[in-house]
Amino acid sequence: MEKNIQNKYKKWSTIIIILILILLFSLILSSVTGSANISNMQIIKMLLHKLPFVGDRIAVDWKDSSELIFFNIRLPRVILAMLIGSALAVAGATYQAIFKNPMADPYIIGVSTGAAFGANLAILLGLSFSILGLSPISFFAFFGSITVTFFVYNISKIGRKIHVETLLLSGIAIGAFLSAITSFMMYIAGDKLHQMVYWMMGGLWTSSWADVKNIAIFIIGGILVIIFYSRELNLLLMGDETAQNLGVDVNRVKKILLASSSLITAFAVSVSGLIGFVGLVIPHIMRIVVGPDHRILIPTSALFGAIFLVLTDAAARVVLSPTEIPVGILTAFFGGPFFTYLLIKRKKSVSR
C-alpha cells in the first residue's frame, strides 16, 4: 500500500514538473508574440545583455524602442498574466471547496461587482492621481471589492459561525444592487463609456512593473497560504461537521481561506479588470486530470491557470493584430464551450 502512495506522490511531482515546463515555454512564447516585430534572437540577446559578466560581451544590435517594448511592456504583462491566471484559478478551486459547489468562482461573493463599481466610479470621476504606484482605477477597484467582500462576510456571520448559504445569497443580493448603480454610471458616462466597457471585459494592456510589484507578493503569499491549508480543504469537502470532528478548527480555517482567496482575487481584478471563466473552469479541468485532492489540485490549478492566461493573452494580442482584443473575451470564448462540454459529460455520467 505504501508503494501505491509513493507512486501517487511520484505521479504528482511528475505532473507538477511537466506543468512548470509548459509554463516556461508559454512565458517564452508569449513574450515573443506581439504586434511589434522583435525576433527571438534579439530577445535572447537582450536577456543575456542584462546578465552580469556575460552582458558586456553582447553587442547591441537592436533598436532602443525594441528593448523598451520588451522590458517595459511585454515582460511585465506576461508576468502579470501568470500571476493573475494562477490567482483566479486557485481562488476558484478554494471557493468551490468551501461552498461545496462546482459552480462557484472567484467572483461569487461580490468581488467582481465591488471592483466594477469602484473602477467605474474612478473612471466617471476622471480621477488622476497615483497611490503607491497604483492608478486610481486599480485603487478604487481593489477597495470596492474588499469592501463588498467584507460586508457580505459580516452579513453571513452568526456568532462565530459563517453560514455558507447566506454568504452566497448576500453576495448575489449586494452584487445585484451594485450592478444597478454600475449600470447607471455607465448610462450617464458619455464618452467615458468605452473605457468602462473595456475595463469590465478584462485585459492586460495597461500592465506595468509597478502593477507587478504591487500585487506579486500578495498573490504569491495568498496562494502559499491556501496550499498550506490544502489538507483542510479536503476535509471541508466532507462537510463542516465531519471536518470539525476530524480535528479542523472549521471557523478559523474558513476565515483564513476566505480572506486569502478574496484578497488574491481583489488584487488580480484591480489590475486586469474582470477576466471570466479562468477561475471557474481551470479547477474543473485539473480535477479531471489529478483528482479532487487539494494537495495536488491547488498547485496544479495555479500552474495551469497561469499557462492558460499567458497563452490566451498572447492570442488576444495577435488574433486581430495590430489591434488587440480584451483577454476576457477570449477566456470566455474558450472557457464557455469547454464548460458546456463538461456539463454534458456530467449529465451523461449521471444518467448512465
Binding site: 500500500m1 501505491n4 502512495i5 479542523v248
Partner: protein, 418 residues
Amino acid sequence: MALSIDDLKFGYSEKEILKKIGFTSHHGEMLALLGPNGSGKTTLLKLLSKILCPECGVIKIGDVCIDNIPQKELAKEMAVIPQSFDTTFSFTAHEIVMMGRTPYISRFGSESAMDFEVVERAMKRTDTWQMRDSMFYNLSGGEKQRVIIARALAQEPHILLLDEPTSSLDINHQLEILTTVRSLVKEENMLVIAAFHDLNMAAKYFDKILLLSNGKVHAEGEPADVLTEKNIRDVYGVDVVVKNNPITDSIYVVPLDKAEKISSNSRPKAHVICGGGSGSPLLNRLKKNRFHISVGVLNMLDTDHETASYLNIEDIVLEAPFSPISDSNHIENLKLVKEADFVVLSDFSIGSGNLKNLEAAIYAIKHKIPVMIYEKRKIKDKDFTNGKGSKLYDELIDNGAMTFGSKRELISYVQSCF
C-alpha cells in the same frame, strides 16, 4: 477515565432542547441514548463533540473541560460516526480512512509509516481492507458505514460517538456493525455513546441506557431497569410487552398498539370468563377495540392467563394451577363482574372445577349486566359435569344471555352497544 456531563442546557432561540442533562459514563462501557424524535439525542451528541456550544453546564473528559481542549486534540480523544456519510468527490476508501489521521499529521508533514500502519489495522478491523482502492462513492451503504468506522478508528480515539449508526442499514449489517463496535469497546476499553432508535438492539448490545424525554433524562441504568413497560409508555406513548429472551438472555420489547389517550376509567369495561386457551382471541380483539378488560377466574399457567399478561391485563382473578375455584376467588370474581359493563363467556369446557364461573355469569345477568356467549360447540359437547353445567347454562340462556356463532359477530355487537 470517564466522560461526565453536568447540568447541561441547550436551546435554539425560544425553544429549549435540553434541560439540565447530567450523567457520567465510564470507559469500557456502551451507553445508548434512547428517546423519541425530538427528545434531544442528536443535540446531546453534537454538544459532546463541540459542534454546538451549551448555554450552560460542563462536559468533562476525565478532569478536563472540553472547552479547554483544542479541536485537534479532541479529535485524538473522540471520534464521531454520523448517521450516514457520502461524498461525490472521487476519493478512494483508503484516502477517506487516512483523513482520520489528520490530527496526527503536522501542517507541513506528510503521512508517516505509522499512519499507514494505523489505517491498515483500522481497515482490517472493519473488514474493509480489500476495498481500499475502490472509490468511496461506489461502495454500498453498509460498506460505506464500515469505512467510516475505520476512519473513526484511525483517529485512535478513546470515546466513540455514534448517531443512529445503523438506521440506514439492513439487519445483517446492523448486527455486523454493532458486533464490531462492541468488540472494540471491550478490547480497547473505549467508551461508546450512541443515539439509537431500535429498543431491542439497544437492549441486546448496550450496557447502559439513558432514556431521554423532552430534553430531560427520564431514566438511566441497565437495559432491564430502564426499558420497562411503564417507561416506554411514558416516553413513547405506546403499549409494549417487555419479555426476557431466553436465547440471547436479554430483554426484548414487543409493541402492541398505540396507547389510548383517554383514561382507562372512561372506557367500557368487559369482564371475560374463559379458560383453556378458549378466551385468548377474544381478549386480544377486545383489547384492540380499546375495551377495559378484566378476567376471572383463571388457573395459573393457563394459556389464557399467559395471553392476559401479554396484553397487560391487570384486573385478573387467579386460582392455583389445576385447582377448583375457591370461594374466596369466586367472590373476587363477582366483584369484577359487578364493575363490568358486560360479560363475555368464551367457548370453554365445563368441569366440576370451574362450575362457579357459570354461576358468576348468572350472577351478572341477574344484576342486569348483559352476558354474551361465544358458542362454537353446543353445551352437551363441552359439559363434563353430568348435566350440572348444562342446567346452569340453560338458566343463563333463559335469563337473556345472548349466543354468537362467530367471534367477529360478538365483537361487532359489543362495539355497537358500548
